[in-house]
Symmetry: C2
DNA sequence: CGCACAAAACGTAATCATTCTTATTTACAT
DNA sequence: ATGTAAATAAGAATGATTACGTTTTGTGCG
């Protein structure tokens, strides 16, 4: 997902393109991993004085809804990152820096037989730890 | 994990066995799935007038620390269930009733090769949806 | 049994992330 | 340029969780 694609997506859904929205996209574009609402707020405060929580959360949810961001929950806080739209996969997530690494295997194929009468809506497979950079630091 | 095993575990760690602690164990023994702190508080309020949040959360964390309970995060709320100590496995979790079904496959075996230099600390594999009972209801 | 002491529980306030509300401002199609 | 729906501000409200000073209660030991 690139910034241009994201803006295009917003337009397609009839949403406006504001400076703050572009800045939020730029933030996640640079981020390369999961970030919290708080981190985003801190970043936006540098450029915008008196940025409101509401603006941040509203746009995070909007971006999640239209598929620009994906989200996960960690330590009671929601974390967001640019959506990997291309194909289904999972992530290793660094506990220190939030950066992610793509994991190719998805266990769902092997699972179906266990859950005959069950209605599967969603699944989560994440690996947590330290990335090479944070490990050696 | 049985109530007796749990009490034994507490004693081994030098923790006292109080009426409330036994009631909490009984609650999870009967629960058969993930429950929230709120649900537990509601249950305890029936027997104990003026039960304190502190008591509930302190004991939930204690139980988690000594391995009586395991925990997962769902919709911004922590959920707890009796720990399945016997062997490593994962769960299907019903979004309606919180009941779980054991999933035999663990994807970690197939993953190691992707993460050479990474330090793996933990992982999570959960499937969400509706159990047969809630599906037909 | 009863005492002493540490652990547990109380009651409540504080905190943290997130959501809601109302009024005002802004982007963008016409 | 203007009207209008969307976006934002500012801060209060909410919901889950944690923290704190005080009081109560298990439990080991004489």
């Amino acid at each position: 997902m690139s910034i241009e694609e994201a803006i295009e997506l917003l337009k397609q859904h009839g949403y406006k393109t504001t400076g703050k929205r572009k800045d939020i996209l730029a933030f996640f574009s640079r981020a390369d991993g999961y970030r919290t609402a708080k981190e985003l707020i801190r970043h936006l405060e540098e450029s915008y004085d008196g940025i409101s929580f509401d603006t941040v959360y509203r746009n995070l949810h909007l971006y999640n809804d239209v598929g620009i961001l994906e989200t996960t929950e960690l330590n009671g806080e929601k974390h967001f990152r640019f959506n990997c739209t291309d194909h289904h996969h999972h992530h290793f997530i660094c506990k220190d820096c939030g950066k992610t690494k793509e994991i190719s295997v998805c266990p769902m194929d092997a699972v179906q037989s266990d859950l005959h009468q069950y209605e599967i809506e969603d699944h989560k497979f994440e690996i947590y730890g330290l990335c090479p950079a944070c490990k050696s630091a």
